[in-house]
């Protein structure tokens, strides 16, 4: 009987190109994945923008961000540094906790300044606790747009 020669099977898997493929994948995911900022300040808009909340000048706290690169504030018509904003607002809210805070920004102002002020107002819970004012939060922070402000003014007969 003729003895048949057994074919030798190589038991190894060729892994030489694995490094190439793996590094290609790594580089692809590194380049295309975005570590973009995925957090920010949220604000909910009123359900029905047709029914504008009734705003009376004396019944709200008016925060106005002045034009220019440097952050300058006018609160109820008077200049106020940012650090004194929450103590002022807190004192006002102690008399009437439902007072809304209206945040207006001059068209010539910068978005960054507006965010700084909005952020400060959103920090009210912790700052009020520090100040020991006995109130928890600002109930309403409203950011009306210019069109809405003009509408309110025309409703009030100012313009």
């Amino acid at each position: 009987m003729k003895k048949s020669k057994k074919k030798i099977v190589d038991p190894f898997i060729f892994t030489g190109s694995m490094a190439d493929v793996s590094f290609l994948l790594i580089i692809y995911f590194m380049v295309t994945s975005a570590f973009s900022a995925t957090r920010g300040l949220d604000f909910a808009l009123p359900e029905e923008s047709q029914n504008l909340p009734e705003i009376q000048q004396e019944e709200s706290i008016d925060v106005f961000v002045m034009p220019g690169e440097d952050l300058q504030l006018q609160v109820d018509g008077k200049p106020l540094p940012l650090e004194e904003l929450l103590p002022y607002v807190g004192a006002k809210l102690r008399d009437n906790p439902s007072k809304p805070v209206i945040l207006r920004t001059d068209p010539e102002g910068t978005y960054g300044n507006m965010i700084s002020v909005f952020d400060e107002l959103r920090r009210a819970p912790e700052r009020f606790k520090e100040l020991g004012l006995g109130i928890d939060n600002i109930e309403t922070i409203s950011i009306p747009t210019r069109r809405e402000i003009e509408n309110i003014w025309s409703m009030l007969g100012v313009v």
Binding site: S36, T110, F118, R123
Partner: protein, 149 residues
């Protein structure tokens, strides 16, 4: 001097680099990138404003971006599914946002604006979103730190 000899015999130095753990490291990295992979729908380079208060933006939110004043306050919109497209007028933002809201009334919108942008442009965008009856808006920001104050 060359290789040190022990009892006159030459010591053999292995000519290989140990690569067995490379596969582990490489696969770990691949898995990490796959899991953290998110396609960026808007590639506008902006200097985000900084804030202390930051909440998570839900994935696939619609995006409206406003570029820096030096780049001409270009406004781009995206539904959160595809790459953002530039818009020319404020009415286009209203139309875009209305379409998105019509499909999903509770869709969140992200405003990704440059901190140096004039507020007038941001106001126009917010007004357009309000007209389109958008319920929740996120103003994208970076974490404020004590150093950045």
């Amino acid at each position: 001097m060359g290789m040190k000899s022990i009892r006159g015999r030459q010591r053999k130095v292995s000519g290989e680099v140990f690569t067995t753990s490379m596969a582990d490291i490489v696969f770990l990295l691949i898995i990490f990138f796959i899991l953290t992979y998110t396609t960026e729908v808007d590639r506008t380079q902006v200097q985000l404003p900084r804030s202390w208060v930051r909440t998570d933006v839900p994935a696939k939110s619609a995006v409206v971006s406003i570029s820096a004043p030096a780049e001409g306050h270009v406004i781009r919109v995206s539904t959160g599914e595809e790459i953002s497209l530039p818009v020319n007028t404020d009415e286009e933002i209203v139309t875009f946002a209305s379409n998105v809201v019509a499909q999903d009334p509770s869709k969140e919108f992200v405003v990704k604006a440059d901190a140096r942008a004039r507020y007038e442009r941001v106001d126009a965008v917010l007004d357009a979103l309000k007209q389109a009856k958008v319920r929740t808006i996120f103003l994208l920001s970076e974490q404020k730190t004590v150093d950045s104050e």
